[in-house]
Amino acid sequence: MIESLWEEIPRFFTYYNWIFLLEAAVRTLVLTGVGCLIGFALGFYLAIVRVFRGKKYIPLKVVTIFFVEFFRRVPFLVTLMLVFFFCQGVQLNVSVFTVALITVCLISASYTAEIVRAGLESVHPAQWEAGEVMNFTLAQKLRLIVIPQAWKVILPPAFSFFIALIKDTALASQIGVIELTYVGKVFNNKGFTAVLAFGTVLIMYYIISYPLARFGAWMEKRFALSKH
């Protein structure tokens, strides 16, 4: 097994294979990054809806809670298939990449909604009441009082969710998005040993994820210290 591995290595690491691999890595990052940014914006609004007071907002709140809980409790693969077949059903002519992107947006919106909510709840109720006393609107309260205090609580878990999502997007290979995992499958089908094909993909994921994870840990420590 080891001999065949050595034989294959020069055939494996050719210029075009590298290009293929790196392009796929970029696609994984774009899928996660763009999906996470859109998802974060969406999740932020979903979290703010839960702060609304008053009876007329109850239906809106129920819908939001259902949305958030639904996508948090359904596997990535099933959501992906739902979006995929839904797009097919309404004859929306979109690429598989877009389908994966929509899925990532939906899932990251619901997860970040919970993260942001925890952040908003971490601000003491007295601060909200102080804003009320100053006759601030909700937007002013959020912008001037709550978010400056909450973002330190929100950012570390949001970042670690982003890193977890890089690994979850591996499932997008199942509908044919050409990202890292798909490349591993292609190399394996081309006849390279699985050790080489999937080993390289594992190492690529590690190279992407490990520095980000270290940065996230550093951020968590730093923000935890500066809170006092």
């Binding site: 639904f70 596997p75 693969l77 099933v78 739902l82 490990y210 994870a213």
Partner: protein, 224 residues
């Protein structure tokens, strides 16, 4: 816009899907228990072990936490046969999920062990407790209370993770959903039903875990 939703074809497959959900549950439980054992050993080695042992555990945890579970299972499924170890799809998924869970649970349990303060142990010593007494009355309740929320959270994540087994041909909930989809061609309906079943089993698991946590360890948890 020419799609009409017909659930009537899918209804009769619901018992079939629910049987698949039992297999999902089985995979999740087995992988979780295996991961707990690995995590317990890993966390103990990481805290009490020597430099060499700590390095190995650190490498294992960092590797499995920074690569996707799917690719890990692919690796076990396709690469191990070349080394002469033949795994069935079910075994490959179980091994992959157990090792992945082991890495995460090592980290979770380590954080739990480290949360026991020195002053607690000193207080136990002042009361004249023996080591088994200290472990049983001081360390164990403390660790359980700290660990329970993160462990139950990870269990839910693992339940969702079992859907990956479908890719390798294990007939659990998602795998059976693919089968039903192939038979009926009612894709959207099939996956809506599947998603609803996943929603149901994870809510059930959350409620059970929260109640168990309240009753056993006095953890105040919330389902939603």
């Amino acid at each position: 816009m020419h799609y009409t939703i017909h659930f009537n074809l899918v209804w009769k497959y619901i018992p079939y899907l629910l049987n698949g959900a039992i297999l999902s549950f089985q995979i999740a439980i087995l992988a979780f228990l295996g991961g707990m054992i690995i995590g317990l050993l890993g966390a103990s080695f990481k805290i009490f072990g020597g430099r060499f042992l700590r390095g190995i555990i650190q490498a294992y945890v960092s590797f499995f936490m920074n690569t996707p579970q799917l690719v890990q299972i692919y690796f076990f499924f396709f690469a191990l046969p070349q080394a002469g170890i033949l795994l069935s799809p079910y075994q490959a998924v179980l091994v992959g999920m157990t090792l992945n869970a082991g890495a995460y649970l090592t980290e979770i349990q380590r954080a739990g062990f480290l949360s026991v303060r020195k002053s607690e142990l000193e207080a136990a010593e002042t009361l004249g407790m023996s080591l088994p007494q200290t472990v049983w009355y001081v360390i164990f309740p403390h660790i359980c209370k700290v660990l329970f929320p993160s462990l139950s959270n990870h269990y839910i994540i693992m339940t969702l993770g079992t859907s990956m087994a479908a890719i390798f041909g294990v007939e659990e909930l998602t795998g059976r959903a693919f089968n039903v989809n192939a038979v009926t061609f009612r894709s959207i309906e099939v996956f809506i039903v599947t998603a609803a079943i996943y929603f149901g089993i994870t809510v059930l698991a959350s409620v059970t875990l929260v109640l168990a946590g309240r009753w056993l360890f006095r953890v105040k948890g919330k389902v939603f």
